[in-house]
Symmetry: C2
Subunit: 393 residues, 2 copies
């Protein structure tokens, strides 16, 4: 067991119609000039944006909008937001969307708080942020957990780099979570979200080194709940209760709770997927599902007790003749689950077929972004990363 810091200051306001409280919540933060950041047209068509603007108007809050955030949110859009935010003198960034919109909003918030510096330096890790404008969210996709997390991932489309920057000062002030807002999501998005939620917990679970029983048992409870509800939503997407379970799980999986006492987690699967996302623009959660099984088989022997525990406690596997057989059965059960919810278990099913050259490029970039080595279940170097990509084709 390791010492840890747990810090989740985000106020969660959860339930039906909670988006109507947005104006009041921003007023409580002492802000009055809001950049409303969102993704595609669904927020407009559904009437959500109108309801939010009505709430802001009722609270006497000045606001401007910037839509058009895409999955794997781009630096160019961040720069657009910075420009608008500067001109209007924004003192609050409201993200209406999922992880991509929230991350884009965080990046804009960093930039507006330190206008003299370039924001990409944070993602290139050449400087640390000193300040960040307050961010709030109205969540419409349960997946990334960015609504409570300190993390932010941006893609520099000029270089193809997808990079993350984590800092507690960017944790959102509030997160409005109305599960009804996720009901109209396409199945692919819903299930990719579930894959992402689970992976945030799994990345903290497959570690070598200290663990804590209360953390493990909470993580397992969360994973079983998400699996159960992911299957319900695959067949009954309008199920409010299942939407709510998954939505709350998205925050708990990535706010730090499922890593307390662990060694910081593995996160190699996330790093491997970031390169796939940077090069091919795949859906993040689906990309994670596509690479996980191959990663798991590659590292299993180096982290056997955790894979055995996962197989038994999460996947419900009956212990086999030896630990390796049990662990493998757990991985196979997980892949069977992915298939049941329509998620890919390799790159071909994901719709990408990288060449050997592209694989080497991704591995090199992944190793560079990881400082040469990544992972706790097993330390992965550039050659390992390339081999995992190869086997996952």
């Amino acid at each position: 067991m390791f010492g840890f810091t747990y810090y989740t200051p985000t106020k969660v306001v959860f339930g039906r119609k909670t988006e109507e409280q947005v104006g009041e919540l921003i007023l409580k933060e002492g802000a009055g000039k809001v950049l409303v950041h969102f993704g595609g047209q669904s927020a407009v068509r559904s009437g959500l944006l109108e309801r939010i603007k009505a709430s802001l108007d009722a609270a006497g809050i000045e606001h401007q909008e910037l839509g058009g955030v895409v999955p794997n949110p781009r630096l160019s859009k961040v720069r657009e937001g910075i420009e608008i935010g500067r001109k209007m003198g924004a003192d609050f960034i409201l993200a209406v969307g999922g992880g991509s919109v929230i991350d884009s909003a965080k990046a804009i918030a960093y930039a507006l708080a330190e206008p003299e510096a370039d924001v990409w330096e944070l993602f290139a890790h050449t400087r640390q942020a000193k300040k960040c404008l307050p961010v709030g969210t109205v969540l419409t996709i349960a997946a990334a957990g960015s609504e409570m997390s300190n993390s932010c991932v941006i893609t520099n489309e000029e270089t193809g780099e997808k990079r993350s920057y984590n800092d507690d000062i960017a944790r959102p002030r509030f997160a409005i979570m109305n599960p009804e807002l996720t009901v109209t999501l396409p199945d692919w998005q819903t299930e990719s979200g579930c894959a992402d939620i689970m992976m945030h917990t799994m990345e903290r679970y497959f570690v070598n080194g200290g663990t804590m029983e209360i953390t493990d048992s909470i993580a397992e409870a969360l994973l079983r709940t998400v699996m159960h509800n992911a299957e319900i939503l695959h067949h009954d997407p309008a199920n409010y209760e299942a939407r709510a379970e998954v939505m709350w799980a998205s925050s708990l999986a990535h706010n730090g709770l499922t890593g307390c006492g662990n060694d910081g987690g593995d996160f190699a699967t996330h790093m491997l997927e970031h390169e796939m996302g940077g090069m091919f623009d795949v859906t993040h959660g689906a990309g994670l599902a596509a690479i996980w099984g191959t990663w798991a088989r590659y590292v299993m022997k180096d982290c056997l007790p955790r894979f055995v525990r996962y197989a038994v406690n999460v996947m419900g596997v009956e212990p086999k003749e030896n630990d390796e057989a049990t662990a493998l059965a757990g991985i196979e059960a997980m892949e069977a689950f992915y298939r049941r919810i329509g998620m890919p278990t390799n790159m071909r099913e994901l719709g990408i077929e990288p060449t050997e050259e592209q694989i080497l490029e991704m591995a090199k970039s992944c190793a560079a972004a990881s400082g040469g080595v990544k992972g706790s279940a097993k330390k992965l170097y550039c050659a390992d990363m390339a081999e995992i990509y190869r086997r996952a084709r």
Copy 2:
């Protein structure tokens, strides 16, 4: 399932020697004049207070001390703290201790922030707090969860009333948790703490109305972990890992996590115990254990699905011939657990024998404090409360 607000802004700094960070953490809060509040002499004898003062001195923080907080913390001590705090112009209250010290610190913090009003009005519920001085804690007893909670319970020893006041503005800014600091606790204190931790979760679990699967499964994971480690500590009190599991559980059990989506909880057992604590000055957790089994039998039929689930998922009971038998087996297993860790299962074992007159007085006071009725598993009125006290003798 109900909507909910989840707000846990307290920064948790967990692990060995973390108390050495206290000066730095207070500086980050922008404070410089600290009232250090504590209980008995153990904090002095163990050298803890000296280490804390050294950390404050190193950070250039002015400080004064007030010890002597007792279990069921008293209004008179709160008034002493207010007096000292006013004279020194305190801008931060540091609680070094368990729930009693933290609650006393919160009450002082409320009073210093609104010097024109009397603090007991909050506990008498004749007014709401508008402000509260910042509070931080160095936790030395894992039990009450006050280190992350919004709650505060004070006993007015002139009237014998033990009353609570809950407000998010009193949630501590930070909680320093070093499990080593709890190693020297007497077994009775340790196990009373475990009983209290479990009850904070159980009060939110035994409800009629909405529930949420992710909350239930986390609650069950937490309860099983505390039970397991309570038994370890009964025989091996110096076990660091077990101390750590219980300490982190104490916060998670009462910071709101185990109630998300539920109807606000039952909390009748707590209300019943508060009267016992007010009249007889019993150890809170032991008082809860002493009354719980009787309460559970009294309300079981009105909340049967939850008692069955508890029996199976927490106590590991094999389902019996019918639900009532399963539920009853769960209650009996819980009482057997209490006995294994040296906790009482009735008032006689707790060391108190209230007369019929005292029972009626407690029931009347409990009903009054509850606004006439309390409970979600079953609504209890004054006559019900008296009958539970009677049966628990």
